[in-house]
Amino acid sequence: MEQEGKKRIWSEYQKEIADDHYFYVRSCIRQTFFPGSETTFLKILRDDLSRDVFEDARHTTCTGIGYHTDIVPFETIMTIAARHFALMTEAGYVNFVPSCVTSFGIYTEILDTWKHFPEMEAKARDYLWTATRREFKIPDNLSHTSDIIYRFRNELAELSGHRLVNKNDGKPLKVVEHIGCHYAKMFPKCGVGGAEFPAVLSGMVEAWGGEVIDYPERRHCCGFGFRQYLIKANRGYSLSNSKKKFESMQPYQPDFIVANCPGCAMFLDRWQYTIAEMEGITYDKSGKGIPVLTYEELAGLIMGYDPWVMGMQMHQISVEPLLDKIGIVYNKKDKYLGSKGQYIGVPQPPHFLLQ
């Protein structure tokens, strides 16, 4: 593999990422799947990097899942996006930062549509005014939250107490980076590094001392695919996509997977349990599965955040083997304690995946 060739491609996909003053919009599903990730992002930005991040409780779903399953029409989702831009405008911000890759894709698609079809923007403005008497400005900058962490990857490396290095042998940890399809596959220019060789997560991993694995099915979708998962009869498609990826990455024996999309992180984590239950197969040597992290969790770990405060006990695949490799000290007893120290219960152990 020629790294120079990759760098040549990356050099053509250097998007502008705002430096400060972010209007942050949360994801509908991430707080359930990976409950500490968004809080970790805010803490890193506000406390560690001293950046200004604003949230508005009136922000709603972008309805992206409904849109991609043909339930929500384009005019509706466009008007909802316009309302979110109006909330940003009213708050005096110009840098719009969605936490969800689906939402990022939605906003990118809508802004591109308005650029090429101004009559659609006029329609959205008219609908929004009729419904809410609101007006909005187009954001100066649209960046996904993974773009923001990417932007500050070197600063975080300097502040961090941990490196992505196996403390037992001193070798870089082998990392699978998985990019959500809606991050750059639709609009390669809107993603760091483009669609074929995205650099947004690999840039973080390398800056923090890890080694990225380029396995054959790297580009392949995790299988979420909205209709593939949401329609129960289609779930086999979803599972088979993830299985294809696991089989492809297995020979490289990755230490963990990091993803920037809610669906990807969820399914790459949960489907390992499903495959183990169905076929008795795991994709790592220890039989414990390959841990799957969000990029905020990864950033939090290298910054020394408590994995249980970040909600990593909610993962299907136990993260302890990874924590041990990095050399992160954690308290086993605290794993199933809530934020107020209350016992939150231990899940029933799976039949095949070892804990």
């Binding site: 593999m1 020629e2 120079e4 060739g5 990759k6 040549r8 491609i9 483009g194 669609a195 074929e196 060789f197 380029d214 396995y215 054959p216 099915e217 790297r218 580009r219 020979p251 490289y252």
Partner: protein, 344 residues
Amino acid sequence: MNKTIVIVGGGPAGLEAAAALGSSPHHVLILEKEHNTGGKLKNWHHLFPNFADASEILKSLEKSLPLNNSEIKYDCDVFKMEQMDGNLLVSLKSGEKIKADAVLLATGFDLFDAYKKEEYGHGIYKNVITSSELEGMFVNNSFPDQLKDGLPKKIAMVHCVGSRDKKAGNMHCSKLCCITGVKQAIELRKYLSKSSVYNFYMDLRMYGQHFEELYQEAQEDYGVNFIRGRVSEIAEISDGKLQVKAEDTLSGRPMKMIFDLVVLLIGMTPATSAASIAQSLALPKSGSGFLAPVHQHISANETCIPGLFLAGTCREPLSLQESITDARAAALKIIEWLKLKDNH
């Protein structure tokens, strides 16, 4: 009265035009941007459809150059032209200016930069090469060691890389890649006798004399496989082999195959060296960016600028045979133009 004819480009078209102008009383000056003549022909091994030795053809073209009235200047980068008192003033980057009674643009073509098809990984995966690089391996006998270990190899040839591809910015058909793919597949089977070669294509445009026969020969005598389907992506697997995903549109099924080498058949694109000249004269271009003649059918060598002519692949993708014929036609037009000029 002797005139000065400047030919920009010392490739096959430029050389042949100079040879054809040898019988005229005019002074012919070839301005070549490189250290030597021959253009891309000098990097080619054998030519379709009869496997003629490219170096022999080049020697023959160079030998035909008239010694009495022609001159070649090397390392000349022409960047601008102006119309001046019925003549053309040719400006070189060196600062030199040359007054010409007529100019023939024979600036040739560029090869499509395969890295733009990012999904194929050229420049990233070492066993993904272009058809041009494969010719270089034939010329220099420089195949990678892993292909020469005597073991059976699987080789994929991907047609239409950067041609007929709106996303790559090229709508035009480069027309010669199909037959090049067939020719190179046969050469690979000859060179690596235990290899199996698979051509992935949209459709095969065997337009020329003996092209169809060579396509049949490739299948019947050399066992070359042809799969109708475009390759969607290439990825490297752990031992440097390549995983190729495509759709077999005849069976209607997606497929995934492992290869030792992938050859990307890159097409012709407009020469960047002609761009500044065209801009300086506001010379029109065709939709695909090649230089446009006055009339595609009846004045294919003439331009809207008096005294400026086109020959060869600067105006459209052409085979060597077509370029040579085209150059002769352009030479005739130049002689006619200079006679008319004298009469006025």
